[in-house]
Structure formats: structure tokens, C-alpha cells
Symmetry: C2
Subunit: 206 residues, 2 copies
Amino acid sequence: MPSATVPDIVVGRLPIYLRALSLMAAEGREITSSQELGERLGISSAQIRKDLSHFGEFGKQGTGYNVAYLREQLRRILKVDREWEVALIGAGALGHALAHYGGFRNRGFHISLIFDSDPAKVGQVLGGIEVLDAAKMEEVIRRRRVRIAMIAVPAEAAQEVADRCVKAGVQAILNYAPINIAVPEGVRVEYIDPVIHLQHMTYYLD
Amino acid sequence: MPSATVPDIVVGRLPIYLRALSLMAAEGREITSSQELGERLGISSAQIRKDLSHFGEFGKQGTGYNVAYLREQLRRILKVDREWEVALIGAGALGHALAHYGGFRNRGFHISLIFDSDPAKVGQVLGGIEVLDAAKMEEVIRRRRVRIAMIAVPAEAAQEVADRCVKAGVQAILNYAPINIAVPEGVRVEYIDPVIHLQHMTYYLD
């Protein structure tokens, strides 16, 4: 399979291409080019063509890409031509914001489970979903066969929560806690920590 | 200056090293090694030594790194041995979560200005800071000499908000809106879009 040999850094750019194409589709655009995509994204057109060539031929020389077609192909390649259920662990301020965020559903994801260990939060309804007792996490995640989790708990609880998610069958974790977590091989973790990005930028400020 | 020649990808890893060292310091650890750091972070010890060597000699052969000293050096290199004021634009659910997040202040950042264009939000107090009318954004950001902005507005408003921030003197933008924004040379933008990370991971799920 070609997908086995695609560098991870290339895979990581595909969602950015998909986001730009979805925006173009929403603007009513039918045709685009690697030049135009590159200008919008600050990526060279050669890089875009090379990245896409890992997955096939998506445009004809000189006529550019069909926006809708390339978008559908990227959705298929990234497996977001379906809807993935996501378990959100942590119903604090960040959990609230994630539960109410409208941008997951039209891009392939649906937070269908929310857990918290605070009895005051259990039973609340966030974005239409009832917050469940974190004690039931393993059982419910396993029963519902949810494979993606978002961790929005304090740093000191994140590793334990991740361990329990993995035991319940989770294979992909988006970790908002500002700490590195260890997971077994075959499980993927991505991190969101705004301070990491801010500190990266202050390096360049005088 | 050595810093001018350090690859950006190396700079981007320094905040991750700093985060790990801060955690070790909080655990009361005094000495660590590139091996231990590497194991915690899933990065090779050779990579860590090479990254740090861009900035000087931080450890003695065989004795490892002094946690507090290396942490202070990284804080200095990343310029977070001070507190940066940050303007937050957007006081919706995400803006609320960011305004109440306790993890900025001890890592070099303080949200000192919050703006929203919704009259119902202006005047609210979030995390001790009053939400100001977005119409005053340029004037207040310029007067307060704030150089970092977090954009937490809908995608369709993000470019205009970014333009206005840059006009007011902002040089670093953390953009939470799910859209690429264009900025003049010399201004840095980093992005936070959870769906990009989720889609990166679903590629690998069957």
C-alpha cells in the first residue's frame, strides 16, 4: 500500500490542504492550482504537488485541481469521509469550550461521550451530551467502541486518564494537558498546548 | 549571534524541553540527562544534545544537566524569563476557557486585554479582565504596547482581526480560528486547530 510509505510530515499537511479546499468549496470555487493553494497556505507549490503525488494523480497538467474532487479524495485518504465518535475527558472550562465547538462535526468528528470525576459536573449537559462519571470511562468507551479521546484534565491526571482510555480501546489521543504522556506502540498522541506556540514565537521577539 | 542560525524546528522543540524541565523541578529533581529527557519526550537523546548545543554547553560529560540551571537558560533563550502581555480577541466559549486558564501566567504570559465585538459580551469580566469593545482594539493594543495576540473569533473574521492587530503593533499571533491568515513579513503566526490533529491521527486508524 502506498500509504505505508508516506512520511508522517506529509500526512500532517493533508488536513491543512483539506481545510483550505473546504473553504474554497464554500466560496463556490470549482478549480484551483498548487500555486493558489501554496499562496493561501504559505507552502511552495512544488511541495504541495509532491505531497499529493504520494497518493495519486489529482490534477491534469495545466488545468489545475477540481476543488470538490480533490477535497473528496483527501477526506477519503484521511478517513474523515465518515464521522468518528470522540470521548472528551474533562468538563472544566476547556471541556465546555470543546463540547460547544461547532467545528468538529462537519470535519469528521462528534464528541459523543463526556466524562468528569467531579460529582458537581456529572449529570450536566454540554452541547447536548450528558457528562458521565469518570469511574465509568473504561466500560462506556469499550462498549461504544470509541477509538479517539480528547484529554482536557489537569496535567497531574493526564497520564492515568490516558492509560485508562488506552485500556478501553482508544487508539488516538488529543492531549490538551500540558504534559507529555506515554502510550503503548500503535497508539497515537497529538498535543495542544498554547504556551508551547507562544514560547516558540517569543524567541523571535526582541 | 548564534540564535540567528538556529533552525526554526530546533527552536520549536525548546519549549517542550522547558516544559519537561519545569515539571522535573516541581518534582524536586536536581539533575537529569539527555537520556532521561529523551525518554520522557519520545525524542532521541542525541537530538536533545544537538538541539541544546546550538545555545552553549549546559551539561558536563557524564554528570548530566542541572535541572534548575538548564531551565533558567531555556527561559532566558525563549525570553519567558519575563511576563508578556497578551491580547485575547474573542470572548466566546473558547475565549472564556483561555481567559480562565491558569497555565499562562507561570509560563511567561498574561492575558491583559480581552476584546469582543458583541455588545452583550463587552463589559463582562473574564478571569479578572473586563471585555472591551473590539472597536477600540487598535487604539488600546497600541497604547499598551502589546505585541502578542490570541485570535479566538470565527474563521470569517480572523483575517480582519489579524490585520488590525498587526496595524496596532502585534508581532506574534496565536490563531485559534480554523483558517490560514496572511501577515506581513516579520510577524509570526502559529495555529491551533484540534481538527487538524484529529485528522492527522485518523489517517492511521483502520
